[in-house]
Symmetry: D2
Subunit: 409 residues, 4 copies
């Protein structure tokens, strides 16, 4: 047992932080002005591609993809990646600079693990190169999609094709100008064992029959240029070779995809929360009310102390979960993944709520990154399974583990 | 002691509710589409003026202005108004339909109480008629404005004029196309007793020297057409007759203005929260996951029960505060006003957070009123004094009250 | 609607408070020393009977029994009684002085409402006179007794007798030297409709076959002289005339009994919490750490403010529930009763937790009433139905009420 | 970075757990009956000395004393000891069996680090042998002792003696029949720099002038046989050679003493909480209400999931703090020690509160270890510095750390 980052990781942390300091923070304000201007909706600020090239040149590229993916991977473990993702997560859009942003990361993992050589050549390579972006279409508006057996989108075999019909929403990235690939989860059959009905299939973005109805907002933000779309699939036809791993393997793919994806979210949330705490610390040290600095108020100090405690614990839990994935795979780490998925988003919400309060109304507006981080935390309480589902599963596993103890003291 | 609404109030509740049912809810979606479309920024949906005319014709107009304002008032007490404001508050922009929206209500109270006949004729009348709207410029970005002695905006006498210089923000309504009046708080002197330096002055919106720099967002929303502006005042010159109540009376005016204003916010927050709970109840009754209705999950039931308990208590506390204002004025009700100001916004935040969770990601987007109500609750934790200031004062008063008890059992 | 106590109630409040000041607080310490001394276990301090005589002489007797019980009642409504119970509740054992202590109050209500003239003559009268005390045996250790259909104690007809067999626990008062009466809930049949199996029966304390196994502790306290007993009933035989209201009416009796009983608990919890807040206020004003009074720490002030807000809201909710019982009976008030039953015990726990913290370790020991009040609050989260059951029911009613609304805005 | 217990530690964990299973759990009930019987007050159950002999024979003795204490230490690091303390902490009195109980552990560390060879021979050796026990007298009833500069007990030089006068309380262990040693903190001077006035001195328990006034209760428990005493020191005279480390070094000693002591408490609290969770899991799996097992209720599952998450995070934070102490000493670990001191007691309180609720009223009584663990958690929120002091310090350090960052993104 050892709680120190290894020298290798410390070096990478210095490099990622240095890159952020040199290239990313300085253009943050300009970036945000650009993407929040309605005139630029669904356009990417040109600077982002420049930064991507620099990050790639600096060897800070695709760090998320674990070493067990061989040739595709830069060679890190999940545990090694965690503190780097935390640093990237300090700015909501920064992970893209390092080609480490959701949902592309999950899609790349799926293709790297389950894709045929042809699928990998056609889709994985440009994704790994950062030339295209992708969306993952799973959630549906009509049903509780946290229960994957509810999925209604149909994938029907018709000769050499599959034909998709269904309605999806919260399809992140679908508005992005570079989005070329959709991974779609649907059902290739509606009978038989419940977890063998789902399949995952590759759908090129420009396939006829894909209608993006409207962008969904998160607390008023459309998150341009990526966006979250509501999408109708009407007789969308793709070749049978686009199926991933085979019919009926969709549930399994989703499970494998969501494990690391969940802790990536959590790593980034730790970073966003840490940054909110830092903003809070600076604010209370520089603000005077009723004759003294806010930082001298014991209530403010308690807010800071509680935030620090929550962040530190969530960070340790994230690291422990990453370590377990490295050792035992997503299945062996299922309880830790659920734990951190329950803990980190709420932690982010709590920390940001306190940081907003310390900033006064400024904390709610565009002058700090805090309200946006709050919204991110709030959003992840649904993404990849709502709190309720994770708590229910975790409790079941916990009870089973306790009952299995030989003795009952 | 009696916890029943009077027949008079019950009748008014039926009328306000009926008006909402007939005229307001049906156009809510269209209204929101209009104001959230960037193409319509800072324009009022035409339907609003039609609704205002109907509400006025129905006698549901200016209900907020208490009976002690004589000729200007429709004759209700604060206690009688509370349940009506709750009904209006179910839609964030609905109070304007009844000419009961902030910050105009507070400005009208100031003018009705402290204005000269000339000021009332020129400004109060068109406000009461709903012909113009107004802003209240108090908060400043550089200083903790919850401590009014920090205000830095200067109001300097120069012959028959006052000249204003300063920077304000969170000036709500300033973008509204009908906004013609600014009530500005500044300092007519920077020495002397701390609470006699501030003055309040009337500034016509079209006075030269007023620069509206940019709209501030609340969780990504600009709240068109009203907006929250950052405003620079540069050598803004108004006649000396524009001073309200006299030099050095600004603090007193702010205190008087904020008392009822605070409970108006709270009444509306109760309504918004009640509506969120109702949406939640419908949702969980109609949604199935893992083989049963969400409403059969005990955790969901606890969320509903806790929300109901919080709403009911906040409603009672709001009513008790309104009753106290009616009996003893804002000063005599200061502790109850602080209490409800502490309680209601957090209650709204809690209730909406649970309601969002029950809706899944839908709860964060534009398809429900919940995320917007959450943001409103969050915002009011700063507006008219942050939680911290109210808690500090309330504790002081509470300690003093306890120490004054003759006996100490 | 009116939030003022009536002159009649204000007068009674003055009298109860005066009595407490003159007779009860001064002997509190001596009383507690007596009952906590193991040498005096299950003995009542002699002073209590003296105080009872004085309270009766002062007309402060049986105030809990509402006016609709005619001859037995001193004539108050539940709403009028609430603030008096609050005052009594400031000391855990004080209600007995006024013959207003649980579980006797509930038992008296049962006998006054459902008893035959003979039962009333034999048991109600001495209870109303304060000459005897009583226990209510419902909860059983083997089963979840919050679900009354689980009750296993059998009441078997045998000629002119009923024979009881079963095991009960948390039988409060059973150790009291004056306890002469047990009201027992059991089943007269184990088939048929679920809510017609239970019956309530009168069992004299000295009936053969009653074995009191041991006292149960609440956080280490046995609550001498009343105690909470685990009791075995073995072939306990009573005449058939001891049945209350008839076979199969036990569930109905329990429901009627628990309604007012629940809000009595809540009234007292408000009093205990208010007292804890007062102790806290005095403490922080008189304690200095790190160079200033605790009362100047903003975190302490927030603790006080939050406590005040919680108490005030719980008080209003208790009063609203009492008012509703007066108007519509326990059934019509069911939702409000559940609400206050959910709110008040947790409120007491929260307020006392903060008050303990402000006292340092002293707050946990016998030098303040706070730890004991905390335990009382914690205990009531189970008594008369655990939080979970009330939340589940309240949510069901709330959903039903919302779905019944004609319109769904 | 590595989150696995080393093989050495895993082996020790198996041995400590095995010892608990074989020797401690089986006699837990009998032990508790003995110590809670007023007839046995201040007597130790004879079995305890037998268990101590067995534990020592098994090499499970003094494990708390870190390897850097050379000859006195069994050779573990703090990090290695942590999971062992967790296992011992599952029963409140079990650490004594392994000679690892507070306040003796802290006193042994003081003597091992600062004692003269004579002091070590006379006092440390019998303590390490478990032949005697000891108390630590620091807290005083009149002053806020969390601020050590408030201490009022005087230690006055008089020839070859020091003479002590003062009043202490919460002197744990002072009632224990084997208690022979008191470590007393007082002031050798009342002027000069604030942190050089305090001294620590050895006082044999049988020195004339020591009056133990009364036992203090924690939620009604006196914690026999150790007890928490209020103590008056009247002209208590000891030889000058009894001073530890020299005059004016008391503050330094207290700081050094409290560092590891605080995390020992936290390790044990993790164990007590883990056990409460296990009891809760068994209970909800075996209890049926309203037709289904409690474990099938989603609200119960959320209680379990939240508890598991809190425990796991507190465990990781405790381990991280222990690791830091091993690497950088108590000073370098100060922020982590404060963090875990803030987190673990509240975590224990939260977990036990939920576990109590799942047990119904049984959870409050002597039939489970949960209420007692709750009280332990609550107590530690004061012990060795209240939450408020730790939060204040932690916030100061956190702000300083943030302000020291070169860049401010």
């Amino acid at each position: 047992m050892d709680f120190q980052y290894s020298p290798k990781v410390q070096d990478l942390m210095r490099r990622v932080d240095g890159f952020m300091q040199q290239h990313v923070y300085p253009i943050e304000h300009a970036h945000d002005e650009f993407v929040q201007d309605p005139a630029n909706r669904w356009q990417q600020p040109p600077i982002v591609e420049e930064l991507k090239a620099k990050a790639r040149a600096a060897g800070l590229w695709n760090l998320f993809l674990p070493h067990d993916y061989g040739q595709w991977s830069p060679g890190l473990t999940n545990l090694e990646y965690a503190p780097l993702a935390e640093l990237m997560g300090r700015i909501e859009w920064a992970p893209e600079v390092f080609n480490c942003s959701a949902p592309d990361t999950g899609n790349m993992e799926v293709l790297a693990r389950y894709g045929t050589p042809e699928q990998q050549e056609r889709w994985l390579k440009p994704l790994l190169d950062g030339r295209i972006r992708s969306a993952y279409l799973m959630t549906e508006p009509q049903v509780a999609s946290s229960d994957a057996t509810n999925v209604e989108c149909s994938i029907t075999r018709d000769g050499d094709s599959y034909v998709l019909n269904g309605r999806k929403w919260w399809s992140s990235n679908i508005y992005h100008p570079h989005c070329e690939l959709l991974l779609v989860m649907g059902k290739t059959r509606f009978d038989g064992p419940r977890h063998t009905q789902q399949s995952t299939i590759i759908v090129p973005r420009d396939t006829p029959g894909i209608k993006v109805l409207r962008p969904l907002k998160v607390f008023g933000e459309v998150h341009s240029p990526s966006g979250h779309g509501e999408v109708v699939l009407e007789d969308v036809r793709v070749p049978v070779s686009n199926i991933v791993l085979g019919e009926g393997r969709g549930f399994e793919i989703a499970q494998g995809r969501l494990g690391p994806g969940r802790i990536h979210h959590c790593m980034r949330l730790v970073g966003a929360s840490q940054r909110a705490l830092e903003w809070m610390c600076r604010r209370v040290e520089n603000r005077v009310a009723f004759g003294k600095k806010l930082s001298e108020q014991s209530s403010i100090r308690q807010d800071i102390a509680r935030s620090r405690c929550q962040i530190e614990q969530a960070r340790l839990l994230t690291l422990a979960a990453a370590d377990r994935i490295d050792r035992e795979g997503p299945k062996g780490a299922a309880d830790l993944i659920s734990m951190i998925k329950i803990v980190a988003p709420q932690m982010c919400q709590d920390v940001c709520d306190r940081a907003m309060q310390a900033h006064g109304a400024m904390g709610l507006c565009q002058d700090t990154p805090i309200a946006s981080s709050f919204a991110y935390g709030r959003f992840v309480r649904f993404a990849d399974g709502p709190d309720e589902v994770h708590m229910s599963q975790l409790a079941k596993w916990t009870i089973a583990k306790v009952l299995a103890l030989e003795t009952a003291p």
